[in-house]
Symmetry: D2
Subunit: 134 residues, 4 copies
């Protein structure tokens, strides 16, 4: 389990005074970037990488309103791991047990530059493995 | 069926050269705003409204990469309409039959300022009705 | 003079109910992209281009609050044109004479991929010329 | 002097692989929010506040390209302090002496909800005072 925190900024929120829904997807991606850094796979975001991991599906449940200046906790797990794709699940909470939201992102490995589906490198799968939900 | 168009801007895209996934959710919301304007319900976004329509669920399939400067077409339908909530479905295409993505947003009516679930006003339901999928 | 329009979206605005200041810079960039399309120079945003035009300076005066759903008009002019750089000026108004804001962006030509300063191509200067303020 | 750090995320960057200029303004605002928290004035961002501090001018010099995953340091000072307005200056660096950018924001006190210019509260001026450049 990988966990991180994020403080909601003014520009994350809309005129209703709560986080704009699309920004929670953006924040989940930041947690994904931190996970990639943590497992030593940050190269997937750089031009040097010979594969890309575009998101082919994503979904979110917005359970409780999230407000400006709120410090949220994000717990990330690999909820599915296949040959060519994986799913990440992000549990958003207030850090004291109150659920705020749940996000999923499904990533598929594709070759550069033609976006043709390929297999996840063995080494990458090995690095993700400790974060797979048991 | 309500339809609109949107041209992908430079800042919608990320270093991989394609639209950043969270931005397609943001663009779907713009189509939702235009639908509300079209049916004469833009007040749902203004402080004068006595109810809010927060998004409690959203999901997206990203079918084909969407690139900078691409003109996308968005077809919006009410895919579900209940007493207190409704679901919108946004079909994203290139306008020539090629599917690019599919987004759903589920909205629930809540009172201001306590975010307590309430019923959708009759008048609002009547305005949404012509856009319900048959 | 190049002019365009933009409707302020919900996510452009912050909890104060007006446009978040950084988003007006983003919107000015959309007008710049449209100008590049208009003069046939959209390649400056694509990987094929052999030069980049990064912004080295930008400034804005926010004259009147801009609100959700407001249709703004953007008039763009080339306010300076030099061998290696140019300045764009964006006058933001409500389309009926009321000034809302003024933005400037200064762009410098650099080589790819080393970001070394270079000269603007003759052909590009010729295309910008009709939009230079006289 | 108030200082903070920020790690550049994937969605902060554009297809040129560097930070999109408008996002550096957004990041400066996050540093401003942290400064307000630090001096005990976070209420300026909440509905309870009886005044607002809209930005009436902002400018930026982009000195060196800022890339994905870069950890930037932001030093914030009050560069001007008047009866009704103040200016903040944000020095952006890599934390090892290399200058990356310089941003300024000018804030003016206005009454709610009519946006009429007013004076900064004495208490607020006193809290800003330790951060005024000497």
């Amino acid at each position: 389990m990988f966990k991180t925190e994020y403080r909601i900024s003014f520009s994350d929120c809309d005129p209703a005074g709560i986080i704009f829904f699309a920004n929670l997807f953006r924040i989940a991606h930041i947690a994904y970037e931190e996970l990639m850094n943590d497992i030593g796979s940050s190269e997937v975001f750089f031009p040097v990488s010979n594969f890309l991991l575009p998101i082919i599906h994503s979904e979110a449940d917005f359970i409780n309103p999230i407000q400006y200046d709120q410090l949220i906790r994000i717990d990330v797990e690999v909820s599915k791991l296949k040959r060519s794709s994986f799913e990440l699940e992000y549990k958003i909470s207030d850090g004291r047990g109150k659920k705020l939201g749940l996000i999923k992102t499904v990533h598929v490995a594709v070759e550069k530059p033609n976006f043709k589906k390929t297999e996840l490198p063995e080494e990458f799968i090995a690095k993700l493995d400790p974060h797979v939900r048991r």
